[in-house]
Every structure is written in structure tokens, then in C-alpha cells.
Symmetry: none
């Protein structure tokens, strides 16, 4: 969404209701039609808005879908379940629950695919979705160190590299399980995954 930082003091102001209506309509259309059959004209109709109003705010389908899906990840947070393994398990289940919703399933992978050829889109995904989750990894690591489950970090550069690795493993495994293997991320799977990850972290002393 464009911000219109300056100017634009005159003329009719943009309808604030329209943004929310369009994003909601987008999610609705994603559920019903999936990404490839979703059209901006249809979204506009569902939102009770003219097509021009959509185009005035988003550059295209990809940008719109990223914003529509990003909102779903707002609810993600790191529970404190007493141990790192349990925390991992909890976050995995939360993440899987979001990913299992059809509007996320359908839209997320599609925009990631588009992003392979569009740096700006990749950046938008990173800012709206990825980074928001990555901070959970950092928080969880810090909490585990506080609890004494893992040694405190000394080299901040190495810590950042490790956080990236953990994030790719967690997010990648859950996404792959859900979308490619198309198997449910249930408590059993989450427990086994968390055990394996925690074991790996402990064994490598990170």
C-alpha cells in the first residue's frame, strides 16, 4: 500500500473503509478461488469498490495478496511454556495453524514463487511476513539462555547466522510438511520436530 507521505492535502480523502474491505475481499477470494483464479476485478466487486480504487492503492495482484496474507501473521507470538523444546513446539503449532488456512496456503507459496523474479516483492514479503516471525527465534534463544538451557551467546555475528539457520529450518519444515507433503502438523509431529531441533541445538552448543 502506498503511503502518500506528503502533499495530497486537497481533494476527496481516500476512504479508510476501502482498504480493509479490499483486503478482506482478497482473503475471501483466495479461499474460494485460489491465487491463480483470483482477479482484481472480482476482488473489487466483492469489496463493493471500483477497480480503479484497488489499483490506486496496490500496484498489482502480488502486492495485494502479500498484504492480505501478512495480516494473518499478526497473531503469532512466542508462548512461555517453560522450556525451549516446549516453546518451539508451541510456535510450530501456531505457525502451522495459520498456514493451514486456505487463504494463506493458496496465496503464500504463489507470491513466494513470483518473488523469485521480483526483488521488490521479495523485500515486501520479508518486511511484512518473514521478519515478523524471525524475531520470535531471537526471543526464544535469549529466553533459553536465561533459563540456562543453552550457553549465552558471545559472538553476535555468529548468533545472527544461527538464528537465520534455525528460522529456515523451522519455517521450512512446517511449510514443507503442510504444503508439499500435505500432511497435518499435529502435536505428535510438533513434539518430534521440537525434540530433534532442540537436540541439534544442544549438541552443537549453539
Amino acid at each position: 500500500m502506498e503511503s502518500r507521505t506528503s502533499a495530497a492535502r486537497t481533494g476527496r480523502p481516500r476512504s479508510v473503509a476501502a482498504d480493509a474491505a479490499i483486503l478482506a475481499a482478497t482473503r475471501e477470494a483466495l479461499v474460494e478461488l485460489g491465487w491463480s483464479k483470483l482477479t482484481l476485478g472480482d476482488v473489487a466487486t466483492r469489496a463493493g469498490v471500483a477497480k480503479t480504487t484497488v489499483y490506486r492503492r496496490w500496484a498489482g495482484k502480488n502486492e495485494l495478496v502479500v498484504d492480505a496474507v501478512a495480516a494473518l501473521f499478526d497473531e503469532l507470538e512466542l508462548p512461555d511454556r517453560g522450556s525451549l523444546a516446549a516453546d518451539i513446539e508451541g510456535v510450530v503449532l501456531q505457525f502451522a495453524a495459520i498456514l493451514d488456512r486456505p487463504e494463506a496456503k493458496s496465496g503464500l507459496m504463489a507470491v513466494v514463487a513470483e518473488a523469485t523474479r521480483d526483488e521488490a516483492l521479495r523485500e515486501r514479503i520479508r518486511a511484512s511476513i518473514v521478519d515478523r516471525q524471525k524475531r520470535l527465534v531471537v526471543e526464544g534463544r535469549a529466553r533459553a539462555a536465561q533459563r540456562g538451557e543453552l550457553p549465552p551467546e558471545t559472538d553476535p555475528e555468529a548468533a545472527s547466522r544461527t538464528a537465520d539457520l534455525i528460522f529456515d529450518v523451522v519455517a521450512g519444515a512446517v511449510v514443507h510438511r503442510t504444503l508439499v507433503s500435505a500432511e497435518p502438523v499435529d502435536e505428535d509431529w510438533a513434539r518430534r520436530f521440537a525434540a530433534m531441533l532442540f537436540g541439534g541445538l544442544a549438541a552443537t552448543g549453539t
Copy 2:
């Protein structure tokens, strides 16, 4: 691609050259245009073939792209590098090398996204791409047990569940690193990932 195993004894036989030309043209178009801008008409032109010839053999863009991309994974094999960690590292690097090619990058995630709404497509992906890789996990596990790195498997049902978990972790992490984080899977990352995974496997006694 339809197999026409039986019947079809009569009439002009299908050109055997056309199949290969179409798949090659598809990969070429994926590199140049990406999935969303690839059109079957363009593929047909590149292959020197009429549009109807493409539609006669593939039901649509998704099926065609799956087959075109699947061929890339033919070269995957499990190296024997002497230890499980080294084997994992080797496979990860091979997998990442394939995934880094633009024709795979662009096409694979897109068809996975489409597959979220199409069971038949999901099955095709599983048969053509996923299962071919999953067997590497099983082989690697067996080899590690032979070496004495891991205890031999007793419960085949649990072994299968574990293989699935490992596969989701390996494939998921590499895919996520490559496509979402858009960072290279270099030797360093592969070593750190393999160490973590091996640690987890050893720690959980699987």
C-alpha cells in the same frame, strides 16, 4: 503426460521428438519469463510445434511445468562421503544446486502453490519429484546404521515417520533458505545445517 499404454494401435503415432522439444522449451521459457508469464502458446512456438500438440499431451500449464521441472531432479543421488553428516551435507548441496537454477526456482514453488487446490497435481508432484528424493533419506539412514552411527531401526512404522520428518526438515530448510530467505546454500551453511541435523538425530536416538 498421458501414457496411452494400451489401445491406440491405429492412426498416426505421436511424434516422439515433440515431447522432449516441448519440455526443453518449457524449461527455456521458465528461465526467460518465469512461471506467471509463461504461456503454452509461446512454449509451442519455441518447441516448433502447434499449440494443439501441447494440449493433446498435457492437461495444462501446471502439469507441463511439473514434468519439465521433474527432469531436473534426475541427477540427484546420494554420495558416500564416509559419515552421515557428510552425506547430508552432500545431498543438501546437490539439492540446492538444482533449486538454484532459475527454471526450478520459478516453476517449483508455483506448482506447489497451485497444488494446494488440486489433489491430482499434488499427486503428480509427489510421484515425479518428492518421492524420488525421499528415497535418499531412507538410503542415508540405512547406511548410517550400517556404519554404526545410528542404532538400527526396529519399528518400521516409526522409521517411516522419522524418514518423513527428516525429509521435511531437509527439503524444507533448503527450499526456505533458497527461495524465501533468498540466501545462498553454500558449504558453510550446509555444514552447519548437517551438524545440527545429525546432532538432533543422535540426541533423539533415531
Copy 3:
């Protein structure tokens, strides 16, 4: 239809049944679909024959339809009803009856339209359909002269020009009434038309 006058003494002879089956299938398709929706593939299927068999005998849709329609005009003949006016009336009714059949209606005007841009097709129509009718005019004129209704012809060149004129008037009026005005050529219309034509012929002394 091509004749294969010479050569072709050897090899499998053409099926004689196929010709009739194809023409019948063509008329059937004309009735059901009309000219523009008639396809040679469909005709071949209806005739229980391969597409190649049709193309081996006719150059295209136009030629096939001309032949299929021409057969309908075989039944036209000049009745002797005792007077020229009555003869005209009889021939008009016969002609109209043929023209009212859907296979003629649909096909005839279409090939005439095509013939405006195809001299060979025009010639084929003339030979197969038009000339066969035109001789009725000449016969009727001669019979009327014999009866003393009209003066005997002296100048053969002028007689030919007059026959052409009469033919255009008769055929044109019936075709126009049937296809453009889409009104029935019933006995009343035929009687009024015959009276007018006979009156014109008598008045101009031709």
C-alpha cells in the same frame, strides 16, 4: 467430384458406396447444422468414412455442398398443363418445393455467396444446377409457340437473350420470395406471378 478418366487401372478401386453416403451425410448435416456449422470432419463421421476419403474426392466444403444440393434438382421437370401460364405456375411450384427444403435453403445461397469470389465454383454451380433448369425455359417457350400462345422465334440470338431474362425473373423471384422475404410460394402467389409474367411476355411480343 474428380473423375479419374485415365490411368488408375491398378490398386484398390474407390468405394462406390462412399460417394452416395457422403452426399447423403452432407444433406443431413445441412439440415441439422446449416452451411456455416457444417464441417467436413462431421460429414465424414456421419458417412462412416475417414476424412481423407472425403478430401480424396472433393476439393472442399463448397464443391461437396454443390454436388449434394445439385442432386435435389434432378426431379425438376416441365409439366404440360395446357397453357404457358399454367406451365409457369407448375414449374414455379416445383422449384419452390425444392427450395423450401432446408438442405437446399441453407446450402444453395451459401455456395452462391462463395461463388462470387470463385470462378470455378460459379462454373460448377452453373453446370450442376443452373443450366439444368434453364432448359425448362427453352422447352416451355417452344411449347407455347407450338400452341400459338406466343409468336415463333425468328432471331435465335434474341431468343437466347430472352430465355436468360425469363430465367432470371422466374428463378430470382422464387428464390427471393422464399429466402429473403421468407414467405411461402403457395398456389395463389404462383398464379399471380405466372399471370404477370405471361402478361409481360405477351405484351412485349416475345
Copy 4:
């Protein structure tokens, strides 16, 4: 062409220039290609317009061609040449001149052929082309009665039937001469035809 008499107060109005451009392009294509090779895509290109713009205004090829050809008949009018025979001759020559133009030749018979299976198209032809000519017959008849060449009409019902008959004879003969016989409608033919028709009218007292 659809009229959109009411409503449609909102939205961008249809380009008025497009209508004329499309009809002109249609006539041009008729001349160059004839009816059967004319395609709406080509017409759109010639008119400098997108294909959808054509389809938005006309239901198909037939409707478009009727409208394109109908415009040619606007110039038809009844000359006052002093006598009915001369008037007929004049109108016949005018009509023949229009019919001889390739855009009319090619298109008119084709749509008449199509109209045999399409009542709506038949009505469109009647309204756009046929009725506009038929009124010339009525005018000519009235003028002849005024001059005293023919008796005044008493029974309006019979008069209408006669006008229809005359119209079928005139239009039919000219069309047949031009398109089927493929002979020119020159002054000589027109004079002989007019004489015959006038003779018939006078003889039957209509």
C-alpha cells in the same frame, strides 16, 4: 448494433468513432477477403480497435456484416423519369450498381444464407435492407397511378400483396442476374426487364 436507449448514464461512454471505423473496416475486408475469409479479429485490427470492442457492439459476424452492407443501400432512391417503365429501369440500374460492388456481392448473399437458420438475423436484414427498398415499389406504384398509367388502387390489402410480388420480382431478378448468372445488368437488360414487368402489370390490371 445495440442501441442502449436508456440507462447507461454512468461509466465511460462508447467511442462514437469506433462504430464507423469498424463498419468501414468490415466493408474493406469484405472487398479484399470475401465473407468466408473475413475474421472479426482482422476487422478489429483494420479498424484500429481491440477485438472486445467489436464484440461489445455486435453479437457476431453476421450482424456486423448486415450493418456494414446496409449502409450501402442508403443511396437508393426513386428517380422520376416520366413513366413507370423508365422509373423501374432507373431503380433497377441503381440497385444493380450497388449489388455489383464487391462488398455487397460478397456479404449480402452470405448473410441471407445464414438467415435461413436465424429468425433474428432475418428480421435484422428485413429492417435494415429489405424494407428500405420495398417502399420504393409503393412510391412508384402511386406515382404511376397519378400519371394514369395504372388504375388507382382500391383494395389496400390486394395492393400490399401486389407490392410484395413486384418487389420479389424486381429484387430477385436483379440479384439472380448479378450473382447467379453473373452477367451484367446493363441498360439493355434493364430496358427489356422493365418492359416485361410493365407489360405484366398493365396486362393484369394491377
